[in-house]
Structures are given as C-alpha cells and as structure tokens.
C-alpha cells in the first residue's frame, strides 16, 4: 500500500513534458491553412484616429487582410453585465478613439508571421491628439470603491472618546510618518501572450493562456457575438501569468474575429513590447503610513492612505492597506483610505500580491522605522502588537500561527546575532545588514467544480477546468485525488485546462488549492458511494442484494461479506466502463471567521560602499499556509514569490513619460527582472499546520476515504508579500539609509554612503 502523497516531495506530473519541450503551449499548436496576425499599436496616449494608411501593408507580400480602426468587418461587441469588469471597456478596432499609448489600432493577417510583422510596420496613422492625463499628483482623487473582497476600502475605527485618527496619532508618544512611491510594474511572464483560433462551423476553439478559463471563454463569446456554448478554450500549459492572464484583453477576440472573417485558423502572438501595454500592469502607487505607539512600541494608531491610478479602459483599483494594514496588528485606532486618479494610460490588472505586496512594503517599512524609533527589536515589536482577532472586523482567524513563523524564522536565520545599529558590519567593500518583515495574504474560497471518474482499469481521472500556469495545480489535483481515493498517484490522471471540463477554480487570488481540494474530497466520497450502490444493485456483482452500509472502501478496494474486489474489477464484472461523481461549490465563506495565510521573512543584504549596489545574500521565509499538498511545488512557489520581492525591492519599474503617456521601459532589457545571479539560496520552511475551518472539518484520520478535509490553503502569492520590505529594512540596517521609493537603486544610496 502506498502512503498518501500529501505533503511529500512530488515531481510535477507534467515536469518532464515541460523540461523536454514536449508540452504544447498556446503558440505551439498548429492548424492546417494557418494564417498569422500582427498588431499595430497607437503612438499617442489620447485622441482620435483621423486616418490609417494601409495601402503599403496591403501591397506587402503574403498579406491577406489589414483591419484598421474603425473596422466593421471584425464583428466585435461591447460587453455589459457581470463580465463588464472582466474586459476592457472599449471594443478593439471598432472605433477611432485612442485611450492609451500602445493600444491596438490595426491588425495585419498574412501567410507567415514575418510577412505580417513586416506589413504591420508599413501601416501609418494620423491622429487628432489631446493632452493625456498622466500624473497621479495632478489629477483629482476619488475613492477607490470596495476592496477585492467586497469590504469598504476606507475604514475609520476609533477608540471610545477619540475624535479622529489625527488626534489618536497626536496623543501617541512616538509617531512614525512615511511616504512611499512606486512606478508601474509588469507581470513579465516568460510565455508571450499567444492565441490560436480555429473555427469549425459556428464553433470556435481557442488555444490561449487564461487564469480563469470559463470566464475567459464566456467573455470571448460575448465579444465576438456568439452563444457561450460555441466557444471552447484550451489552456493546458501556460508559461507564467501572475495576474496578466486573469481578464480578457484584446488579443483573443481579435484573433477569433479575424479567423471567422477570413475563414482560416489565425494565430496572433503579441511582441514583448506589446505585452507591456496590452496585457496590464501593477498600478503606480503613492502611500502614506502613520504609526502612533507608546515608547515601548505598543501601537495605538495606524493610518494608511494611498493614491493610485484609474486607467480609462480597465482598472485594478488599488487598496494596498486591504489585507495588510487592516488585518495585521492590534490597534485601538485604525484608518485606511484608498483614492484613485483617472489617467490616460494602459489598462491595469492585479499582479501577484496585487494590494498586499506594495501595501506590506509600506506598512512593514514603517514598522521597521518604528522599531528604530523605539529601540525595540523588529521581531519583538511585531510580537508586542500581535493580533488575535481581526482589527477591522473583530472576528477570529480560522487558523493563525504567525508567532511561530517569527520565532522559527528568527532561529533559522540567526536573527539574534544581529546588531540593530546601522553600518555595524563591514567586510571589505561591503556593508552587510539584515532585516525582516511580515507576510499576510487572504484565503477566500471560490466557486469550483470537480469530476472524478473511476475506470475499470483501476485508475481514476480527476477533472476540473483549472489553469496551471506553472503553479503545480495539475499535480495538486493528482495528489489530492490519490489521497482522497487512497490509491497511488500513478493511478490518477489529472485533467485540467479545458472549458469542456467541469468549471474549475480561478487560478487567481492564491485560491485554487483551497477551492479545489475539498471538492476533490467530496467527489471521491460520492464516487465511492456510487461504487457501493452499484455493488449492491447490479445482479452481476457478488454483493448484489447486500446492504451498501456493510461495504467498506479502502485503498481502492471494496470489502464486505468476506470478499474483496478492486473498484476496477468490480466495474469490469458488472460491465460498466466507469463511475462518475461531480462535486460543486459556490465557495461561500464561513462568516464567523477571517482567513489568511501568514509568514515571516528574514533577509541579509550587502551594499557596496563605493558604488552602492545592493545584493541579497541570504533569505529565510517561514510560512503558515495550512497543510502542504506538495512540498516541492509549495517551496518553489514561495521561492518564486521571494524573487518577485527582490525585483520589487531592487529592480522593477516602468517609468511613464508624463508628456507622451508612453511607458519608457517596455523591453526586457530595460525592464529588469531578477536573473539567477541576483537570487541567493532561499531557505523556505512551511509550518504545515492544517486549517481546521477553511476547507471543512479535518477529522481524526479514522474516517473512511473521501470524508476528511486536508485544511490546505493556497500559497501562490504570500512569498511576494513583505519580502521587498525585508530587503529594504536590511538595506537600512546595512547603510543607515531609508529608501521609501522602490526600486532601491544605487543612485538613491551613493550620495549618502
């Protein structure tokens, strides 16, 4: 008998295919008679097209079509109703309005990708230009609206008798006030956005990377004006996403519409430069954090205000205090407020730890400043302000072991050897420093469905239309199915990434694992129940006429009345090819609790005393993410999250040209993501304590298969939260210089070194 694979080091079920190049990504699919599309983008940020000259492009070799805005041939439609927030609010190429620099204004379709690209370069446009709104500081600020989880983005909780947050701060012994800035950041996934659209009659099959496949297909159907059942999306292998593939952008509808209009399959691949403006970014952000505390660091008041952008086409409304400042520390007075300014810039979208990564950078940097101001050790400071119930709602957590993360992390890292005094460790040219910060990320159940089929060859197929963009979701499905059915992982086939499958959980908000695993458990339970029913009702079964309650399922085998049969042999005996069970959930939260994952980061950096560049030398992260399904994939996710934090802290920004609205660093040579040389060994430890509430009762292990919850929480984003602050805090400890505008580049340090 195999042990359950849960929590062990499991290789990805698709790892070999990916490493050998056998896995087909969206741009790899072929189709007979394939045509290739290339987009032309706007070179102004705001205005109206007065003309597009397509003559030279049309005369180019191999060109089949040139669509130029406004082009009625594509048959694209606005989207209203529930999906309106899932798409941009303009119809691509349908009118002459330009909403941002880098918007699609024309599309060339040709016989080869090179011919399409060449012809696209020959398209020229003229505009009636209006000055773009580009400055957060200059435009009016309006409230951001509800947070991603539906709570208000503005909170003002005051202790009895306190008149205002300002009064609470004024009455505090120690006050820290700090302002933080960051430019736009990009998801920069390795796989470019690529789509293949193949029509057969009135049915279209799309091959594209999507984090929420069902909504993506539904949105495409509405955009191209066909019934939802006419669109199938295959999104089996996806080369990174990080939020850039959550919503439907213009590329997939354009490819689908062109394929329909031409009557041939069409592939559209965005260039790397186009991805920077056509597939979203993390909004630029200004934050102000004020902390009021006693002389021994006990918080009395916290205020966290932010101003971010509202692009006119589609917006991720930044509420960076949400799930960070409104959830992390005990305080009697709490004020958070998020404002937005309307700008003529490319549409924005959630990027890994969308609010939490920048929000925690501000809060956890300010906490470090409070530690310096009070002389209290940063870990001790956080323990002194440890919250046991949510500061914004008063509800308890379903599970919280953050204190253990701090203590264990400090021990693994060797925190006690640290000197709080800046510049106290110099080795040759290098100033060494250490810093720490807290990680927190919400855990929300989401709607999902799972189908399990038991087959007569003693294998099982676990199907859910989820997307695995490198997270290990397919392997998670397989492991959970093997555990629930008590059979080896090798006998479970996970099936994902296709809208013909039962609708899967969104691969967003770190929710896929805790949305999917409980449904796999439920589906397994129902499949076993159905197996027993078949065993006692089919007259070819040896148990025909028995009571189903007298049968016991264990490790893939039915036992009862002194007999035993595997489920496969029973199915074969009764001549039934399979048994199917479907489990669905709307993902309603338990209103009695709040749910978060937690973690603590500890970091060492060195800063060159001559030239000021910062390099991360050591990193330890301890995380409380519930039970771990796959230790290897989980650690990999945490490591990847911390690497995002290194990019956030030290490298990544795309400055906006205020006069033109053009993003200035839209190549991977100018927009710097960390390379291997920037990343030290990252020590990740996962507590592995099951969440007893979020996914249902854990049981005590004596239950029959398919009835116990695993208590796992998602962990795709928590590594990005707080890691940048830990790095910035270490830079302060190394140099005595506090940089509140990320990235912390050498030009911000050298004049003070």
């Amino acid at each position: 008998m195999s042990r359950s694979p849960v929590g062990r080091e499991t290789e990805r079920v698709d790892g070999r295919l990916k490493a050998t190049g056998a896995a087909e990504y969206s741009g790899d699919y072929r189709a007979p008679d394939l045509a290739h599309a290339h987009l032309v983008t706007s070179t102004i940020a705001r205005g109206t097209l007065t003309g597009i000259d397509t003559a030279a492009a049309l005369a180019s070799p191999g060109v089949l079509r040139v669509y130029a805005a406004p082009d009625p041939r594509l048959g694209l439609y606005p989207i209203t109703g529930p999906l309106a927030g899932f798409v941009e609010n303009y119809v691509p190429l349908r009118d002459a309005e330009v909403h941002f620099h880098g918007q699609a204004i024309a599309m060339v379709v040709a016989e080869t990708p090179e011919q399409a690209r060449d012809a696209a370069a020959r398209v020229t446009a003229t505009y009636d230009t209006r000055p773009p709104r580009t400055s957060l500081a200059d435009e009016p600020h309006v409230p951001a609206g509800p947070t991603i989880s539906g709570s208000p983005s503005s909170l003002n909780i005051l202790a009895p008798g306190v008149a205002s947050i300002d009064a609470a701060l004024a009455a505090s012994d120690v006050v820290v006030e700090a302002e933080f800035h960051q430019q736009m950041q990009h998801h920069a996934a390795m796989e470019p956005h690529a789509v293949l659209a193949v029509w057969k009659g009135d049915q279209v099959t799309l091959y594209a990377g999507a984090q929420v496949p069902s909504a993506y297909a539904l949105g495409t159907a509405q955009r191209i004006g066909v019934p939802p059942q006419n669109v199938r999306l295959i999104t089996k292998y996806v080369g990174g996403a990080f939020g850039a593939r959550v919503i439907l952008w213009s590329d997939t509808p354009l490819a689908a519409a062109a394929a329909r209009e031409i009557g041939r399959p069409v592939r559209l691949v965005l260039t790397r430069e186009q991805m920077f403006t056509l597939t979203g970014h993390r909004p630029q952000l200004t934050q102000t954090v004020r902390l009021g505390a006693s002389r021994d660091g006990v918080l009395n008041a916290i205020s966290h205000r932010s101003v971010s952008e509202r692009p006119t086409t589609v917006t991720f409304p930044m509420t960076p205090a949400h799930a960070t400042t409104d959830a992390l520390y005990r305080t009697s007075n709490l004020h958070v407020d998020a404002q937005l300014a309307t700008l003529d810039i490319p549409g924005s979208r959630a990027m890994r730890g969308p609010n939490e990564a920048p929000g925690s950078f501000a809060l956890e940097t300010a906490m470090d400043e409070l530690a310096v101001a009070t002389g209290v050790d940063p870990v001790e400071l956080r323990l002194r302000n440890y919250a046991t119930k949510s500061p914004s709602t008063g509800l308890p957590w379903s599970s919280k072991h953050l204190e253990e993360c701090y203590r264990l992390g400090a021990r693994r890292f060797g925190w006690s050897a640290r000197s709080a005094k800046p510049r106290s460790r110099v080795e040759g040219q290098w100033l060494y420093g250490t810093g720490m910060a807290t990680a927190i990320y919400p855990a929300h159940r989401r709607a999902a469905s799972v189908r399990i089929r038991l087959l007569d060859d003693d294998t099982a197929v676990v199907s859910t239309g989820i997307s695995d963009f490198g997270t290990g979701a397919a392997t998670m499905v397989g492991i959970s199915g093997a555990d629930a059915l008590e059979i080896p992982l090798t006998r479970v086939t996970p099936e994902i990434g296709d809208t013909l499958l039962p609708q899967g959980a969104p691969a967003a908000g770190s929710s896929a694992t805790h949305a999917t695993v409980p449904l796999i458990v439920n589906a397994a339970r129902d499949a076993i129940k159905e197996l027993k029913r078949l065993a006692v009702t089919d007259d070819r079964s040896p148990w025909h006429g028995a009571n189903a309650d007298d049968l016991r399922y264990e490790r893939g085998v039915l036992h009862g009345q002194g007999r035993s049969m595997t489920f496969g042999s029973l199915l074969a005996a009764v001549d039934s090819p399979d048994i199917t069970a479907l489990a669905e959930s709307a993902g309603e939260p338990d209103p009695r609790y709040v749910h978060h994952s937690f973690g603590a980061h500890f970091c060492e950096v060195r800063v060159n005393r001559f030239t000021g560049e910062t390099r991360v030398t050591r990193f330890t992260t301890v995380a409380d993410v519930g039970r771990v399904i796959n230790s290897r994939a989980a650690r990999s996710q945490l490591v990847g999250g911390v690497i995002f934090g290194i990019g956030h802290a030290l490298l990544e920004e795309n400055p906006l040209e205020l006069d033109t609205g053009r993003l200035a660093s839209s190549t991977l040579a100018d927009y710097l993501v960390p390379v291997n040389a920037d990343v030290p060994d990252i020590d990740v430890h996962l507590l592995g304590r099951p969440d007893p509430i979020l996914t249902g009762p854990l049981g005590d292990g004596s239950e029959e298969a398919g009835t116990r919850s695993l208590g796992a929480r998602g962990l795709g984003e928590i590594g990005t939260v707080g890691s940048a602050a830990a790095i910035g805090n270490a830079v302060y400890n190394a140099t005595g210089i506090r940089v509140r505008d990320v990235p912390i580049t050498l030009d911000k340090l050298i004049e003070h070194l």
Binding site: T43, R117, D118, N608, T611, E613, V675, T745, I750
Partner: protein, 325 residues
C-alpha cells in the same frame, strides 16, 4: 524586417567590392538581426561575412591580434588573453549572456549600436536613427544615457564593454575596403555625435573591420575591468572602468584608464592617468586622481548620479586591482 538581398562571399576582396549604400555586413547577427526585426535598420543588401578568413587569436612581439570574426566567448577563454590582458577577458565575460557571447563577433561588438530605448523604438523621434527628427532622450527617461561627449542632438551611450579596455590599451583597428587596407586607433575610430549622431565611426561605405591589435605593454597584465549595473548579470553598464597600472614598488609608473556607460564613445581618461602617475598606489592617490574624471559632464534629469558614480567606480576598480595583486 524588410526584404533584402543576401550574399555570402568567401574573400574580403569579394565582400567589400560593389560598395554601395544600404549594405550591411552580417557576422554574429546579435545586433543586426535584432535591429532589422525592429526595422531600426533596413539594409537592402546583407553580406554574410562568416565564411571570410577573419579568425585567429595570436600573441607576438607587437601584441595581441584578434580576427574580427572571433567570437566573444572564444576570445574570453583564450589563455593569451586571460594571462596578458585580463581586463579584456573580464569585459567580455561581463557582457551580454553566454548565448550571445557564443554568437557575437569581436568586429560586431565594436560596431554594436546603442541601447538607447528611443533609438530602438521606431515610433519615437531619434536623430541617430532618422537625422533631423530630434532627440527623445534629452527630455525623456535618460537614466542610462551618456554624460560625456554628448551633444544637443544625441546623448546615446556607447554600449560596448570590450571597447573600454581596448581604448585604454591603445588598440588599433584594421580595416579593408575596395580602396585597400588601413589601420586606425580605436579611440579615434569612434566619432562624437555632434550634429551627426547617425555617424558613429570613421568607416567608409562598405569598409570592413578585419581585426584588431592590442599592443604589448608592461601594464596590460595588471589590469581589471569593473562593471556597475542594477542587475548582477545580463545588463548594460551604468558605469564601467578599465584600469591598468604599472607599478615600481608602491609607485605607479604608468596608468591606463578608460570608462564605459558614461560616454557617447568609450571614454579614455588621460587626465586621471596623469594624476596617478608617479604617485603611491594608495586610496588617497586614487581619490585625488579621479576628482576631475567627470569634468565636462552634462547630466540630464535622470542620470545626475553618473558623474559621482563614475568617480566611485574608478576608485573601486583601482582599489580592487591593488587588493588583487
């Protein structure tokens, strides 16, 4: 990429025949193909020179001879280069990525085009790409741009790491054209942008770089190349320094210094060299000698840090060179 005609000659004479505008030589292709895809360069005729006999890395009494078609990775690995010209090997190894170094040629490296993002974006004005259209970088995002040798028409940084130590070591470039062969110093091979930033060197139409010679010297073996950048690898320099010292005891008797990442061409710092010569190799000497290194610099909004960073880079490079003795 626009359609072009393609030729694959086997001799230099054949390659440089038919001098006409709109011809580009193709070696490793790491700059040319990239820029042709972007339509920054659209040659009507591409002459693939990879079959020409322009290879060889040899050391003799004159110095180090490197054929123009030698690949960066091979030159960096050559024992003669590593032993006698360490900063040349270091500059090569700190360039680009391993994949690019395996393809890119030495001649192509010296002729690579700037990484100015406006030069590479054909939708923006750029005097280097399209003379007379204006310079977007002057008021744009110019953090990586040059502060030395700039003009009101162009502030694009020279991108080559390799050219920096080569200029410090008084390297000469061998050229061939239909009119014959000639040899020019690398430092004056590059021209300043002035009013004609589209002209970057003294090459005549259809003139080909066939190789370089790095002279022998008592200082080349005691040398170091230091490259400063935001990212630890795979990025162009914010600043760089090539430093070579000849010492007698503690005294500097000869110094060769050049800087990258700051100039519109690789920037020889002869005043710093003079200020070092005859002095003891101490940090006080280094600090004093680099004080004027960025004299004449014209920083813009986003690269104001570069003069100070240049001075600091030079001090660090000299310090490391001393520590590594």
């Amino acid at each position: 990429m626009r359609p072009y005609t393609y030729a694959q000659p086997r001799t230099v004479r054949e390659a440089v025949r038919d001098a006409k505008p709109g011809t580009a030589f193709l070696a490793g292709g790491t700059t040319l193909v990239d820029l042709m895809k972007l339509e920054v360069m659209s040659p009507g005729r591409v002459v693939d020179i990879n079959r020409l006999p322009l290879d060889g890395i040899t050391l003799d009494h004159e110095g180090l001879h490197i054929g123009a078609l030698e690949r960066m990775s091979d030159v960096a690995a050559a024992p003669a280069v590593r032993r006698h010209y360490p900063m040349v090997a270091q500059a090569l190894e700190l360039s680009a990525s391993a994949q690019l170094r395996n393809m890119a040629s030495i001649g192509g490296n010296l002729l690579q085009r700037t990484r100015c993002s406006y030069f590479r974006d054909v939708t923006t004005p750029c005097n280097k790409r399209e003379p007379g259209t204006g310079c977007s970088a002057l008021e744009g995002i110019n953090r990586g741009h040059a502060v030395l040798g700039t003009s009101d028409a162009c502030i694009a940084t020279h991108p080559s790491d390799l050219a920096v130590p080569l200029v410090a070591l008084s390297t000469t470039v061998h050229l061939a054209s239909a009119r014959g062969t000639r040899t020019v110093p690398l430092e004056t091979f590059y021209t300043l942008p002035g009013d004609t930033p589209d002209v970057e060197n003294v090459l005549r139409p259809n003139e080909l770089v066939t190789g370089i010679t790095v002279p022998r010297s008592p200082w080349a073996a005691h040398s170091l190349y230091l490259k400063i950048r935001d990212r630890q690898s795979y990025e162009f320099a914010l600043t760089s320094a090539a430093v070579a010292l000849q010492l007698r005891g503690r005294t500097i008797v000869n110094a060769r210094i050049a800087a990258g990442g700051v100039g519109t061409r690789p920037w020889r710092l002869t005043a710093v060299e003079r200020a070092l010569t005859g002095r003891p190799a101490t940090s006080a000497t280094f600090e004093a000698a680099v004080a004027g290194a960025a004299d004449g610099a014209r920083p813009r909004e986003h690269n104001r840090f570069k003069p100070a960073l240049l001075r600091r880079t030079l001090v660090r490079a000299l310090t490391e060179l001393q520590e590594n003795r």
